[in-house]
């Protein structure tokens, strides 16, 4: 056990700290298009989000290991430096870089499997926040059973003609592009008939209908494709290989949904809230039952934080088997975050039901919002129940359900 990063990283940590200090309180001229990205601070410099992305890239605090020619920083992949950057940003009041499905999922996929031309065309504007992507995976009849998707793509001349419907498409209304799973080989077995297509969202024939979720924000959309024509070359991988390409990106998503350090930041916010808020004039942190529940959650988050260190260490020291340890992350991370946000609501009692712009609202209503939002993340990206199937079948080697004919 050696939890020191070594002297060569001390200098780096100081550099990151002084950068964060320089941009502390940075605020944005343009609004965020998803509620979970940094809303910016106050009292610091003001700029557009894409300018901030560029500054972060130039300094190597974002897109660190993406080659320069594609718009990245062009540094060596260094897991420890990435972790130091994340830790120092989360400690400071400096906004974090933009995320989103283009940055978190498409860019790694392109780097791994895209053609040179695709990398040149898409990675840079995506990293700069100038090209927003949405993910066209789920369909009304293809949720947990994603591979049964039916949106059709037919090659006519040198164009794909796409017809069908996608659902749960986050940020479609702001997106320039969609990475989309489409059935292009109708006669092949279900997993082998899918291709991974890149669709410009301004192509004629695309209709977007917002889908308001329980938070009362249009977090999702339905996207309808009617004779949508795109060039033949807008495909990652070969025809029929889309399932493998998509699985690579799902891996990226499952790890990044609920990092334990972010959850621990919320635990610390909750402790602060419980010291400040009162019941019958007494701070809530002095009420034994709430305090015990707080400690239960803190214990769980500490376990997940330690677990994350173990996984980090396994990346640095190849040969360590943490297969099951990785599989549990989406399940445990999202469930725990939901539980924690729910505890804050219980602690506030009636006050915890206030929403939107109500008087007496605490912490801008983030507890209420994230409590509901994380129920969405528990369901999305492979439900908790699907995660349990994966852990049992792929992790523990338990037998699959008998196949039903024709399914």
């Amino acid at each position: 056990m050696d939890l020191e990063y070594g002297p060569e990283y001390q200098e780096f940590t100081k550099k990151v700290q002084s950068f964060c200090k320089q941009y502390e309180g940075l605020s944005f001229k343009d609004r965020a298009n998803t509620p979970l990205v940094s809303s910016g601070g106050s009292g610091g410099p003001e700029m557009h989000r894409s300018e901030w992305q560029k500054i972060l890239i130039e300094n190597g605090y974002f897109a660190r290991s993406v080659p320069k020619e594609y718009g990245g920083y062009g540094g060596e992949a260094d897991i420890i430096k990435s972790r130091i950057i994340a830790a120092e940003f989360s400690k400071s009041k400096t906004p974090t870089p933009m995320g989103g499905q283009g940055i978190d999922m498409l860019v790694p996929t392109l780097l791994e499997m895209g053609t040179e031309e695709q990398k040149q065309a898409y990675i840079k504007p995506t990293l700069h926040g100038e090209m927003i992507w949405c993910q066209g995976y789920s369909e009304p009849n293809a949720g947990s059973d994603l591979a049964s998707l039916q949106t059709k793509g037919e090659l006519v001349g040198d164009e794909w003609v796409i017809n069908g419907q996608k659902i749960w498409t986050s940020t479609a209304q702001y997106s320039q592009m969609c990475f989309c799973l489409v059935r292009t080989e109708p006669d092949a077995p279900k997993h082998a008939g899918i291709s991974y297509l890149l669709i410009p969202m301004d192509t004629p024939g695309i209709e977007i209908r917002p889908l308001v979720d329980m938070t009362l924000k249009p977090g999702f959309n339905e996207v309808f494709f009617t004779d949508v024509k795109i060039p033949e070359g807008n495909i990652i991988g070969k025809r029929g290989e889309g399932w493998a390409v998509a699985n690579a990106t799902l891996g990226h998503e499952r790890g990044s949904l609920a990092p334990p350090d972010a959850t621990m930041n919320r635990v610390n916010m909750l402790i602060h809230l419980m010291k400040k808020e009162t019941l019958d004039g007494k701070p809530l942190i002095e009420h034994p039952i709430y305090r015990d529940r707080l400690m239960q959650i803190q214990g769980k988050v500490l376990a997940q934080q330690s677990h994350a260190l173990r996984l980090l260490s396994a990346k640095l020291n190849p040969g360590t088997d943490v297969k099951i340890g990785q599989m549990i992350q989406k399940l445990t991370g999202t469930e725990l975050r939901h539980e924690l946000e729910g505890l804050a609501i219980d602690v506030m009692g009636e006050i915890g039901t206030l929403y939107e712009d109500s008087p007496h609202l605490k912490n801008d209503g983030t507890w209420q919002f994230i409590y509901m939002y994380f129920l969405g993340l528990i369901i999305g990206g492979g439900t908790s129940q699907i995660q349990k199937n994966i852990i049992a079948e792929r992790g523990l080697g338990m037998p699959k359900e008998p196949k039903i004919q024709g399914a």
Binding site: R291, M295, Q298, I328
Partner: protein
């Protein structure tokens, strides 16, 4: 940066496990549990000591191996895996930790050297410092102890006792001293022994520094709690492994029960609950030695959290076995009970979480 067990620690852990699998099979444990043959327990204990367990934490200057608490934790994990019927946490972890922290030079030389050379075996009873049940408690004056100490660990095989009052003062006693009565307490877990010790004008020696501060006893209890967490970790993993294996073999409705989602999900939940516990226990053990600011918090959370996860796993793993899980024939209940006792000893989860809260206010 490396987070995990060293090669030596993994090797030691496997060694202890292999020794117990070879020498303390479930058949042997059943005999010990039914009190039929007391000599079996002694033989297993002797072989266990031959691995070097008694001197694990004791500094080399006193004849020990001077290893860290993570080493001790992996031994505890293997004991949990095999429901090992040997004294461990009290005599070889808590007692040395307490004496190192609270003994004066003469006391350290005397007791640590004898523990390392296996001349003495120290039973430990700190329950009344954590929280007194049935009005038990000890008072010390003029070199003698009065009162009762409950749930003294490994008292039946001990040559010495290390007991504490409610202030955290710790006292060494010779088990043969006058004024001592040892009353065995039968718990659900027959793999380890507990007793009540009644002191009437019984001579005792104060560990010097424990008279000045409760830090030393607190440190020993932290170490004990991490060991109990590690024991539950090993026992829980063993229950999961047995449940998963059984689910692949047992057939109902024409298929292995492990192919039903109801069973799969129970197994996946057990794994998802337990997997982060490894890192938590290791991290707590590391902080105990290297990060005093976090040590208390980590030890408390390791004990409380692993106890909670273990309780759920003990129930679910039994349920996966159906009726067989409930029988004595299968013997799964030895692990169930081990986890149950670990949960209550040295502070139940609620008490320990309250300490965790106080450590950060």
């Amino acid at each position: 940066m490396y987070f995990g067990l060293s090669e030596e620690q993994s090797f030691f852990k496997d060694n202890v496990k292999k020794y117990l699998e070879d020498n303390a099979s479930l058949d042997q444990i059943r005999k010990i549990a039914s009190n039929d043959e007391t000599s079996i327990g002694k033989e297993i204990h002797q072989g266990f000591l031959n691995l070097g367990v008694n001197g694990l934490l004791i500094p080399e200057e006193f004849g020990g191996l001077g290893l860290d608490l993570l080493f001790a934790a992996v031994v505890s994990e293997s004991l949990g895996t095999c429901v090992g019927p040997v004294p461990y946490i009290a005599p070889y972890v808590m007692a040395p930790t307490a004496i190192m922290a609270a003994g004066n030079q003469a006391q350290k030389e005397n007791y640590l050297t004898k523990i390392a050379s296996n001349e003495i075996l120290v039973g430990v009873g700190f329950s009344e410092f954590i929280g007194s049940r049935n009005d038990a408690g000890l008072t010390f004056a003029d070199g003698v102890l009065e009162g009762r100490a409950m749930f003294v660990m490994d008292a039946q095989v001990a040559t010495h006792f290390l007991l504490a009052d409610n202030l955290g003062q710790m006292f060494m006693m010779d088990a043969q001293a006058s004024g001592l009565e040892i009353v065995s307490l039968t718990t659900i877990d027959k793999t380890r022994q507990y007793a009540e010790i009644i002191c009437k004008d019984a001579p005792a020696e104060l560990l010097e520094l424990s008279g000045l501060s409760s830090d030393p006893i607190s440190k020993s209890i932290d170490a004990g709690r991490i060991m109990l967490a590690a024991d539950t970790l090993g026992a829980s993993q063993a229950m999961i492994d047995q449940a998963v294996d059984y689910s692949k073999e047992r057939k109902q409705f024409g298929r292995a029960i492990g192919s039903f989602q109801a069973v799969k999900h129970m197994c996946a939940e057990m794994v998802a609950d337990l997997e982060p516990c490894y890192a938590l226990v290791w991290h707590a053990a590391h902080c105990h030695d290297s990060s005093p600011d976090e040590a208390k918090l980590m030890a408390c959370h390791a004990k409380a959290h692993v106890s909670e996860m273990g309780k759920g796993i003990a129930k679910k793993a039994t349920e996966v076995h159906g009726g067989m899980g409930f029988t004595d024939l299968l013997g799964l209940h030895y692990w169930f009970k081990r986890i149950g006792v670990n949960r209550q000893m040295l502070g139940s989860p609620e008490l320990v979480r309250e300490e965790a809260m106080q450590s950060q206010l």
